[in-house]
């Protein structure tokens, strides 16, 4: 069931007051509104994930971790060894297996022998986000934006280079907790950190006009709707739409979510 909301200013304010409102004034209403849909034919998560097409919007889906890009065309990049299955259990994010990728580089050497090292990595691994994680120096997130290699983030890396440390670091850099992967009437398929989705009764605020933003600005917390978790499996969850902001018809795939942390 969807509730239209006329008092947008009441519901969607800044992050600093988000948690308070969600946990106090809104809580009863949210839960009351959620109950019927939670037991009323929410799409089966497995089926939905299985039929998921390439979602639109600016957000990481498939990452490749490198120590360094190759210095010149045709050379093999230096892959960061990372436990893929452990990493993928922690969130909706998928990562390129470094061993497969290294071998794919060798198999496709001729095709990419003249390509720019970044383009070669993206072309061979099909990663949408390249994480360059040197042992010393700043870490960088690289993406192809409008056909161009773009550094979308450059700064300190995580304290510990483990799947957990990197996952926490990534979401801290992105400055959001989840992303809408797909949309069906009244329901959203959401990708987030697994640890967040494990909590019961979790609600999330969809941030207005965030579909095209890879990283949210520090104070960017204006909401366009409130959603509530109905089913989850690791880093993917089905949320039902609780309320939408004034004039908001739907929450588009690619929209970023801020989740209740407590």
């Amino acid at each position: 069931m969807r509730m239209s909301l006329s008092l947008a200013g009441y519901l969607f304010a800044t992050a600093s007051i988000f948690s308070t409102r969600l946990s106090t004034a809104m809580a009863d209403a949210v839960i009351a509104a959620k109950d019927p849909v939670a037991t009323n034919g929410a799409p089966a998560l497995a089926e939905w994930v299985g039929s998921l097409k390439e979602p639109t919007g600016e957000f990481p889906r498939r990452l490749v971790f490198l120590r360094a890009l190759a210095e010149k065309a045709g050379d093999l990049p230096d892959f960061l060894p990372l436990n893929r299955s452990a990493f993928e259990r922690l969130s909706y994010l998928r990562m390129v297996d470094s061993k497969d990728a290294a071998w794919d580089f060798k198999l496709n050497k001729n095709k990419f022998s003249q390509a720019d090292p970044f383009e070669a990595v993206v072309g061979i691994t099909r990663a949408d986000t390249v994480v360059v994680a040197p042992k010393k120096g700043p870490w960088r997130l690289l993406r192809r934006v409008k056909g161009q290699k773009t550094v979308v983030f450059e700064g300190d890396g995580p304290g510990v280079v483990t799947p957990e440390g990197i996952t926490d670091w990534l979401f801290a850099v992105l400055n959001w907790d989840g992303v809408v992967l797909a949309q069906r009437p009244d329901y959203l398929l959401v990708g987030a950190k697994s640890s967040l989705l494990k909590r019961s009764e979790i609600q999330a605020l969809a941030v207005t006009d965030s579909k095209g933003k890879f990283i949210l600005a520090a104070g960017e917390r204006t909401g366009s709707g409130l959603i509530s978790l109905s089913e989850t499996r690791e880093g993917i969850g089905v949320f039902d739409v609780v309320i939408l902001g004034k004039g908001v018809k739907n929450i588009a795939p690619g929209s970023k979510l801020i989740m209740e942390k407590k």
């Binding site: 061993k99 071998w103 001729n110 095709k111």
Partner: protein
Amino acid sequence: MAEVIEAGSIRIQLDVKNSQSLTRVKGRTAYFRHWEVACAKLGKAMGPKAGPYGLGAFTTYSCDHGAGMPYAKSLPPKWLLNIVDGKEEARFSLKHLDNSGYSVVTEFVMPASTHTLEFFADDEFTDMIAYALLDASPMGMLVTKADVGGSPPQFTGRFWRAGKSKSFKYDVPEPPVHLSIYRLRWDDQEMQWHSESIGDARQIKVNQPKEQKQRQGTVLIGGGVVYETSEKVVRALAFGSLWAKTAAGPDHSREETTKSLRRAQIKIAAAAQSGELDDFLAGRFDAILKILSGYGSGYAGIRYGREALLGEGGLGRLLRKTSVVQGVLQIRNGPTQGLRYSYDVVPRTTLILPGIVSPVEASIESSRHTLGYSYEFDPHLLVDKITVEPKVGAWTFKGVLPITNDEHGLVADTANFALNSALSLGLEVGLEELSDWYLMRQWYRVNTGFSLHKSSGRVVSNQFGIDAFFTGGPRISLFGLSMKSAIMAFYFCDAVDIFLNRQVGTVAGDDAKITAVGFTVGYAGIGAALSW
């Protein structure tokens, strides 16, 4: 859509359209008979586990000489090996069928020969071609569930030389030590290969083959390269066969492989050109001695070089002005094979040097006839040929050389040094590297000459140098013979010591007698040759 790459079929096709120039020369019937043999041998050598070190990806093969007759109505095979036996080159292109048609996966080129298809009568040569193609392809050694056994799990690749003559004719690379084991897919949309790495394998031993005497000679039987892998690979094999390939990746050794193949081709081409291919295949033909049939049965040439070292003092300045002219004749085939003759002349060179009293004229000239006989053998390592050449000759040297200078560098005294037709003995050791278009030779030579004249003396010369001989020039008809022209380049360094049986001066301020002079010259130059 992704296509899982498993062992499949290949069509081996002779591109007749682009090979026509050769078919005209050779006559169609014989040519296509050679083609049938070549295709069959190559098809077998590219079968699963049949290639060197177990490489092999094609369970079946078909042969087509491009006329479209036998296979026009059949579905196009996923894999095609297109062979252009052209006038300029022989090109082998391994192609894969994708949504844009046949795309080249790998290819390599050999210099053209009117005998290219005949080379495939040699299993060892065929193995090298198969290796070059398979090593560069994304597939490798097919590993099936049945191949792997034991604990820890092991499997065995074919020993390269298994089934071949004991006296192997070519250089081959070592078996890979580390293998990557993977599943392979082709993505038609992305137009690229994707792998799923399953595990690794490590070479643990090489079982040497046994020797078996057969009618055609001693043949190596069995043997193998044993690899140890992991249980993970065994589990994955339950879901289908896998590929194993050197962990360095496809085509990692192209340069080395191409070089080996070129050397093999030069050897077999030499045999074919001499009409002795059968002897060569049976190991009764020493290809290396015939290898220069590519350069003819011999060659004669003339070279000119200038002194290239920076000499000091009056003698150094004199030597700087010198040049050398050399005539060379080498017989590399036939009854007099091995004979070498050279005639070196340093034309008379003079230089007016400032003296203490008045300017003095210094001069130098020499000539040397040398006759040698070259003993040659193929070391099968690093170089193609090692030569050892004893020499005998006559050496004439005349010079008025500055022997003492004052503290200002002015010539205090000169002396006559003369050796007339001194008998000369020498020994030369050479290392030769051969290609289809050049011969590179490094050598060291020691000569000593002595005169029977009582007032004369002896001379010792230590030389080392490098000679290059580049073929490819135009053909010239001379004395009814068709000769090939070639360019030569050389550099050699010569340290000469002349000892006289008489005193020619004294050291200034000392009573020490001067009876000898020593100097070093280095000549660099070019020349032209004709081979027949």
